[in-house]
């Protein structure tokens, strides 16, 4: 399908003022506020546009399957450093960027948005706009490509995206330590202040897993410094995949799943004790997952008291907005940006921020 097809759909919907639900494989339908509108499936606009390993940049169309892109990178021993969760086989590159979610490597390598170099987008007026490019350094104009990362399709349809990629590390070692929550947080923040090759962490129910990556020459002395038990390579891979894809047992069960982003040094949250399913901590302490069925306000308060924010990530029924409320000045800018890129308000309306 050519991009004109999508452009025409958007122009038509804008003229009729009927909402469109931009959608890739639908693997993240659960994320954000209730999607609404007529589905516009992006998967027919697919393919790798350009990939030159020595440039460390890949450009793909939005509808490309994320697993296909990752496969292409693997052939050249490269990968997406932000380790995006797929949440299903149908995940697309465009959906991945629109959701803006990063995986276990977030604390060490950076977030998805850090690797977005350029985007081609069809906005709510049907204009095809290109921002950024295929180069690492680019300060011409405002950084609209990064603005689109995590915008949940509310500003435009991500037609094409250029991402920075990196070579895979030559070696990997997972460690497991027995530590209580408070001690684990202390330890994680301590290690992060030292030049250790920790690329992922996960704590749950008294056990802390760490992933070390790099040259063997860097890993071995780090293992000696950190201690703990060496986890078998295959078991390690399975664990990090289960954390990234939320197939770990913690993520099961019917209670709503909350995602709290907090400063990494935040002490154990009292709510964690109350949550029936307990808590799982990633990103060196900066990300706390909570299975909690109590009042939303309590989670939101706990997060904001710590200087962070809480997202209702997965729930059978979302009785509260998915995302934390925005400060007045920020909300005003949000509304202005939305109105500028999508004046008819037809693109994934309300998915990120409630309509005025």
């Amino acid at each position: 399908m050519s991009l004109d097809f999508f452009r025409e759909k958007i122009v038509e919907a804008a003229a009729r003022k009927t909402p469109l639900r931009l959608r890739g494989g639908g693997t993240k339908d659960f994320y954000g506020n209730e999607p609404r509108g007529e589905v516009l499936d992006t998967r027919s606009y697919a393919g790798i546009v350009d990939y030159e390993a020595t440039e460390l940049v890949v450009t793909a169309r939005g509808g490309t399957a994320l697993s296909h892109l990752e496969g292409i990178l693997r052939e050249k021993n490269q990968f997406l450093p932000f380790e995006p969760p797929h949440f299903g086989e149908q995940a697309t590159v465009g959906g991945c960027v629109a959701a803006g979610l990063s995986g276990p490597r977030r604390a060490s390598a950076g977030a998805l948005r850090d690797f977005v170099l350029g985007v081609t987008v069809v906005d709510g007026r049907g204009r095809t706009l290109r921002f950024g490019g295929q180069v690492m350094k680019n300060v011409a104009g405002y950084d609209v490509s990064r603005l689109l990362a995590g915008s949940l399709g509310t500003l435009g349809l991500i037609a094409e995206v250029s991402l920075k990629v990196l070579p895979r590390a030559p070696a990997q070692q997972t460690l497991c330590l027995q530590l209580e929550e408070g001690a684990a947080l202390e330890a994680l923040n301590g290690w992060a202040g030292r030049p250790l090759p920790v690329t992922a962490s996960a704590w749950h129910a008294g056990r802390l897993w760490l992933r070390l990556e790099g040259r063997r020459a860097a890993i071995d002395p780090a293992v000696a410094q950190i201690g703990g038990e060496r986890v078998d390579a295959e078991e390690g891979l399975a664990l990090w995949s289960a954390v990234r894809e939320q197939t770990h047992a913690f993520f099961g069960g019917a209670d709503p799943l909350w995602r709290l982003a907090v400063p990494s040094t935040t002490p154990p949250l009292a709510l964690g004790q109350e949550a029936r399913g307990g808590t799982l901590i990633e990103w060196g302490g900066g990300l706390r997952w909570l299975k909690f069925s109590g009042e939303a306000a309590r989670v939101r308060d706990a997060a904001s008291r710590a200087g962070g924010h809480a997202t209702l990530f997965r729930a059978a029924h979302k009785s509260t907005p998915a995302f934390a409320p925005l400060a007045p000045a920020v909300l005003r800018v949000h509304r202005e940006l939305k109105a500028a890129f999508d004046p008819s308000g037809i693109l994934n309306p309300g998915r990120l921020v409630a309509e005025p």
Binding site: V139, A140, V144, A327, L337
Partner: protein
């Protein structure tokens, strides 16, 4: 752009003196003169009034006052910028953030520092050093430039391939909109809710908000670092060697290239120990634990040798490493010594087009009769060709500008950009019309209006109006012969 009427100047200065101490409001020419330009000295303009606030509350009141009076405001850090982003307006207030020099919080455990915008880039790493931490972006002006200016320009440096730019190392900004409304973007917790306004604000050249507080990420300092100086008898081979290093799965901590005219200028100035016979040299750095660095340096040596390096020298100790870097970091002032003036360009290109672009620059040297040494952040494709000229000759200045504009347009043509890290400012505003289409420029305008509906914050920078592009397009067709030489061309 012309000077404001004395009555208006008096009116604005008086309104500001109502709440600012007399010494914090300047309007006499002898006092405002030091603010007439930033690092891009070819463009000068006296501001109507200079304001030097010391507190957030004062910043807020200045903005409210200017906003109410419809006076444009130009924020300024240390004034080291190279694209004229802090060029004053003759009918505007120049808002100097120089007095915001305090470190508000250093949290070694959380690895963040909260600083005011006037804190110097290098000072952040200095205060973090006792904790084994540092702030990664290191623009070559780092001893003088401020973090506020770095935020405005999204500054880079020689280590960004591995450690990122300002946008990757700043997590939160606090400041005010043009109406004096407080605004906070980003957060100390990962990935703040809503649109990524932090990414928009960084690199926005002071056009979206006035920043009063910056939270930066601090990284653990690697145990050791060593750098290889590799010589090549051909510039293109040096470019291919860069690709070979990346293809071998190595991300060097720094990867820089200098051509012979550049190394020769530098050597006279600092004595960095460069190979002056080489057509080009690469500086390729590894950092990490001692054993890791040893292994990686060996790997790099092997790749560089295979790629045709004619000589390899590895720094033996920290002193020698810093000496090798001193030449690269002093490249601009060194070139300043061999020519009355130089004009620094800042295009970024896909690395694979390097050979082609360097040949193009050589042709331009002949076409315009001006010399042009090259320094290059090779790892991330960011070129800094330095055109040598004499600003006392108006004709040479004009040739220089045409030379530069042809090179920047070449960068766009090969899939790159007109500015990698110095910003658009007033300098490259015409080339924005080449890189972007009208719809995209209109979208930038909409972003600006979302923060600043009346266009009072640093107007006229970074994003050209469509009318200006139409005018530039007309000028362009005439092959550099300007239709109205009497018009100021910013």
């Amino acid at each position: 752009m012309g000077a404001a009427l004395p009555a208006r100047q008096r009116e604005v200065a008086e309104a500001l003196r109502a709440f600012l101490p007399a010494r914090a409001v300047l309007h006499e020419e002898e006092d405002t003169r030091p603010y007439e330009c930033d690092g891009l000295t070819a463009y000068r303009q006296l501001p109507m009034v200079v304001a030097l606030p010391e507190t957030e509350e004062q910043v807020q009141r200045i903005l409210r006052t200017c906003s109410a009076m419809g006076v444009p405001v130009v924020p300024r850090g240390a004034g080291t910028g190279l694209s004229g982003g802090a060029l004053p307006l003759g009918d505007g207030v120049l808002l100097s953030m120089a007095k915001f020099m305090r470190v508000l919080r250093l949290d070694p455990k959380a690895r963040v520092a909260v600083v005011q915008p006037g804190v110097r880039n290098a000072a952040i790493s200095d205060i973090a050093a006792p904790f084994g931490l540092y702030y990664a972006p290191d623009p070559s002006s780092q001893i003088a430039c401020t973090i506020g200016g770095n935020v405005s320009e999204n500054s880079g440096g020689v280590h960004c391939l591995k450690y990122g730019l300002t946008v990757h190392n700043v997590v939160r900004l606090r400041g005010y909109t043009i109406d004096g409304e407080p605004i906070e973007v980003g957060s100390e917790s990962p990935d703040a809710a809503g649109y990524d306004l932090l990414a928009l604000a960084i690199g926005s050249e002071g056009m979206l908000m006035v920043v009063t507080e910056v939270t930066v990420k601090l990284l653990a300092k690697p145990q050791c670092a060593r750098v290889i100086m590799a010589s090549f008898d051909d510039v293109e081979k040096a470019g291919e060697a860069v690709a070979a290093v990346i293809a071998a799965g190595i991300i060097p901590a720094g990867l820089e290239m200098m051509d012979r005219p550049a190394t020769r200028a530098v050597e006279q100035f600092v004595g960095a120990g460069y190979d002056l016979e080489a057509a080009a040299i690469l500086l390729c750095e590894s950092d990490g634990t001692e054993r890791e660095v040893e292994e990686e340096i060996a790997h790099m040596n092997e790749v560089l040798t295979r790629a045709g390096a004619t000589r390899l020298t590895v720094s033996r100790d920290e002193r020698e490493r810093l000496r090798f870097w001193s030449g690269r970091k002093a490249a601009f002032p060194a070139v300043g010594r061999i020519s009355p003036d130089y004009y620094c360009m800042d295009g970024t290109i896909p690395r694979k087009r390097l050979g082609e672009v360097l040949l193009f620059i050589r042709d331009m040297e002949k076409k315009y009769g001006l010399r042009c040494p090259n320094v290059f952040h090779a790892g991330d494709g960011n070129l800094h060709p330095l055109i040598l000229f004499d600003a006392n000759s108006a004709e040479q200045l004009e040739r220089t500008e045409q030379f530069a504009s042809e090179v920047l347009e070449k960068c766009v043509e090969v899939g790159g950009t007109i500015t990698g890290e110095h910003g658009v400012g007033v300098e490259k505003i015409n080339q924005m019309c080449v890189q972007f289409r009208p719809d995209e420029l209109e979208a930038f305008g909409a972003v600006k209006r979302a923060f600043d509906p009346r266009g009072l914050l640093n107007p006229g920078k970074a994003v050209p109006t469509l009318a200006r592009c139409a005018e530039y397009g007309r000028m362009h067709v005439r092959g550099g012969k300007l239709a109205h030489p009497e018009l100021p061309r910013f």
